[in-house]
């Protein structure tokens, strides 16, 4: 198969975890304003970004998401006083962890989209979709799911030495 063709045919799956008060409402506004954006995104509504557990992001990638968006209220605008502040720290740490594990952070976008920012919602979703489309499918977790066991590769000199000694 022609590699470029494959890339063009690829429709990324984007999962968005959003808070109900700001970003969900912002996405609603994009709708009422009849703005257009790629149909790749699936929105999961949470009361607040504070409710979004990093495990969900992991789960989304494992379920085949090619990109994940987490979006909530701007700092200070949280309907629940401070949920987004907690989320901000939680995700700052989590993305560092994922990065260290080897996940390309271009696939994981965080944003503040207020209820008034229909345009920003469109921009964020479109940007992420196009960025991920250009990157191609997220293969890492999918490949992992296909594997049953450790490769058994001998990747340290000590092991090699021990192995050869047997």
């Amino acid at each position: 198969m022609h590699p470029e063709k494959q890339k063009n045919d690829f429709e990324p799956k984007i999962i968005a975890f959003v808070c109900t008060w700001c970003t969900y409402a912002g996405a609603d506004l994009a709708g009422t304003s009849r703005m257009q954006y790629p149909a790749n995104v699936r929105v999961l509504k949470f009361p607040c970004t504070g409710r979004i557990d990093p495990v969900f992001i992991l789960k989304a990638f494992q379920q085949g998401a090619d990109g994940v968006l987490v979006s909530g209220c701007h700092p200070g605008d949280c309907h629940y006083i401070a949920g987004n502040f907690h989320a901000r720290r939680r995700f700052a740490a989590f993305r560092k962890l994922l990065e260290f594990i080897g996940v390309d952070l271009d696939r994981l976008q965080f944003s503040w989209v207020s209820a008034a920012e229909g345009g920003k919602w469109v921009e964020v979703v479109t940007d992420l979709t196009e960025k991920v489309r250009a990157m191609g499918p997220m293969a890492e977790f999918k490949e992992l799911a296909m594997e049953e066991q450790w490769s058994g590769a001998i990747n340290t000199s000590e092991l090699k030495e021990a192995y050869e000694a047997i």
Binding site: P54, L58, R88, F91, A92, A93, L105, V124, E147, S151
Partner: protein
């Protein structure tokens, strides 16, 4: 021949612990003292709970006293008498864990009698327990230790810590090496590491912070993390574990020590500690913090990663 590390003070420490334990038990100040005792193999050491002053001289401290005894105060504490204070022998690294547990309402300071140990370092591995402590055999965590002398304890043997040679910071070096790789290279590194995991959960068992009665990863309604020892589930387990320990892990490195598959687990914990230090200027210390870095916030926190 690598550089030896002076552990001559450990004999004096052993004596001081025994004397103090004897005094505490006989005076009834504590109901038990948790410490280290000699194992069957030569040079080996195992944790012990001493409830009788008569056998207090079983308590020792040697380079093989690697265990973090804090773990016996959480999960294992059910077997330990509930009445009265508990004496516990702690190294600096263990004390950080104890302090962390206090911050998480798992322990109360007034219920503990802390016997602090000035520590020059312990062995990386106890497979051969009577190994001499050298720059090669010393645990990696000890190379980067900033708590040789525990503070805030009820009793600390009066010894002078010997000066130590400059040791290589192995975690820092390895983190830097991995950070320099591409995401794909890092992924393949960790993929290989996590794939080895056999889900024996020794890491969880030994960790003082894994005190949940039911681990999230054991739940099946819903199943957040696959429980079978397959690469996908293993990776998820280790990511979740690292995340749950972020901002809490005190760095005792017990997880890494007990891992039968030699997965460099503390590397993840050190990485997270490093990031939290950089982001929020937080690190595990010998003082009780009311809130951890991930249970608090300021309105000025970094958000450069957020659009």
């Amino acid at each position: 021949m690598t550089q030896p590390i002076d552990t001559s003070i450990y004999a004096a420490i052993t004596e001081a612990i025994q004397a103090e334990a004897k005094r505490l038990l006989s005076e009834g100040q504590v109901s038990v003292v948790i410490g280290y005792a000699a194992g069957r193999r030569k040079g080996s050491v195992q944790p012990v709970v001493v409830s009788d002053a008569a056998i207090a001289d079983k308590l020792i401290f040697t380079p093989a006293s690697v265990n973090n005894l804090a773990v016996y105060l959480t999960k294992a504490k059910k077997e330990i008498p509930k009445s009265g204070k508990i004496g516990v022998v702690v190294k600096g690294c263990d004390l950080k864990a104890l302090v962390g547990l206090m911050g998480e309402s798992q322990l109360k300071r007034e219920e503990l009698y802390l016997i602090g140990v000035p520590c020059a370092g312990v062995l990386a591995s106890t497979v051969q327990p009577d190994t001499v402590l050298t720059a090669d055999t010393i645990a990696s965590k000890c190379c980067e230790c900033d708590a040789h002398l525990p503070t805030g304890c009820d009793f600390v043997p009066n010894v002078t810590l010997p000066t130590r040679p400059q040791l290589e910071w192995k975690y820092a070096a390895e983190i830097a090496r991995l950070e320099a790789l591409t995401p794909a290279e890092r992924w393949s590194f960790w993929k290989e590491q996590f794939a080895k995991c056999i889900k024996c959960y020794a890491c969880r068992q030994v960790c003082p912070f894994c005190f949940c009665e039911q681990c999230l990863c054991d739940r099946n309604k819903p199943q957040m993390v696959e429980s079978t020892p397959r690469p996908a589930g293993n990776t998820a387990w280790h990511i979740v574990r690292a995340m749950h320990l972020a901002g809490r892990c005190a760095g005792c490195a017990e997880c890494e020590r007990v891992c039968p598959m030699d997965i460099p687990l503390n590397l993840l914990n050190r990485k997270m500690a490093k990031e939290l230090k950089e982001l929020y200027d937080y690190e595990a210390s010998l003082e009780v913090n009311e809130k951890g870095p991930l249970t608090s916030y300021t309105d000025k926190d970094d958000q450069s990663f957020i659009k």
